[in-house]
C-alpha cells in the first residue's frame, strides 16, 4: 500500500473499532451518500494536502463533518466532538516502521447547504504520516 491508502486505513481503523461502533454514531466516508434516515451522523474526509518529511510521508487534515438535528442548539455536536477527541487526539498507529500520528483538534460551525434540517459543524485534526525509505 502507498502512503495515501495506508493513511486512510490507519484512520479508518478508529471508526471500524468495536469501541467506536458502540458509540452508535453513524459514520460515513466522504464521497458516499449517507442514509437519509440518520438523525445525526458524521462524514470523514482525509485531506493529505502537504508534503511530508520524505518521499514516502504526507501531512494533512482529517476533517469530520458532524451533522445533528438543526435548531436544537450545539450541545450534541460538542458531545460528538468530545467523543471524537477521545478516539483521535494524540493517537498513533505504527506498523513495520510506518507511523501515522494525529495531533490536536479544532471545531467550527459551518453552513449546511445540502440539508437545512441538519446543523453542520466541522471537526478537524491535523495528521502526519511518516514512512521510511
Amino acid at each position: 500500500m502507498g502512503k495515501y491508502v495506508t493513511t486512510e486505513v490507519d484512520i479508518f481503523r478508529i471508526f471500524g473499532s468495536f469501541s467506536w461502533t458502540s458509540e452508535n454514531i453513524a459514520t460515513y466516508p466522504s464521497n458516499y451518500i449517507p442514509n437519509s434516515n440518520d438523525q445525526e451522523f458524521i462524514r470523514i474526509s482525509i485531506i493529505p494536502s502537504s508534503q511530508g518529511v520524505n518521499l514516502v510521508s504526507v501531512e494533512g487534515i482529517v476533517m469530520v463533518e458532524i451533522f445533528t438535528e438543526a435548531n436544537l442548539g450545539d450541545r450534541r455536536s460538542l458531545e460528538i466532538a468530545d467523543t471524537l477527541d477521545q478516539f483521535m487526539v494524540g493517537k498513533s498507529f505504527n506498523e513495520n516502521g510506518i507511523n501515522t500520528q494525529l495531533f490536536d483538534s479544532t471545531l467550527k460551525g459551518a453552513s449546511n447547504p445540502e440539508d437545512e434540517s441538519r446543523s453542520r459543524q466541522i471537526y478537524s485534526i491535523p495528521f502526519k504520516h511518516f514512512g521510511v525509505n
Binding site: 493517537k91 505504527n94 507511523n99 514512512g131
Partner: protein, 196 residues
Amino acid sequence: MAHIDNIGAGMFSDMSISTDPAGIPDLDGLDDAATQLALDALFKAETDVPAVGSYSRVENVREFPAMGTPPNVVNVPIYGQATSQQIQGQADAPSMELQLNAVPADWAAGATLGDMVGDGVQRVFRFSLLNSKPEGYNSSIEVGSGLGDVQNSYYYWFGKIDAQQITPQLTDANTMTITMTIQSEFFGAYTATDAT
C-alpha cells in the same frame, strides 16, 4: 515494546525526577544492563511522597531542550596534510532548561517539585522519548503501568534543579523556566519492554 522504530513526533515525551530517599545509586563497575536495572529501580512508582522507587513527573512541559552530550569538535592540524583532523574534545555540560506552562501549585514551597529547587541535592533524572501515550510512566515491565506499554527510549543522568523563573503572560498561558545542572554522563538510551 521496545525502542521507537519509526519516524514520528514525541508528543508524549516525559521528564521525571527520582524522589527515592536513597539518592543517586553507586554505578561503579556495573555494565550497561546492571546500570539500567539500578536506575530503573528508582522509577517504579509515581507519587508525590518520597519513598523507595518513587518519582515525580514534570508535567505541562511546553518545550524540551536537546537531550544528550553536546559536541565539542576540535580541529587538529596535521603537518603535511591538506586538511586537519577532527577529534571530539571534552564538551561543555549542556544547559538544560525546560519551558513549562506554569502551574504554580506544582512548584510552590512545600510541594515535592517546588522544594527541589535550589536545595543542592543531586537526584536522578529521566527523559523518556514517547510517540504514543503509555498507561503509566514507570520504568517497569509491569503490564498496564509502565513505559513498556508503548515504544519508548529513555535516558538517565544525575543533576540538580537550580532555578525556577516564572514569566507572566498577559494574553497567553504563564510560562515557567526550570534550569537544571547536569553532573554526570547520560546513561542510555534504554528501553522498557512489556512483560507480554
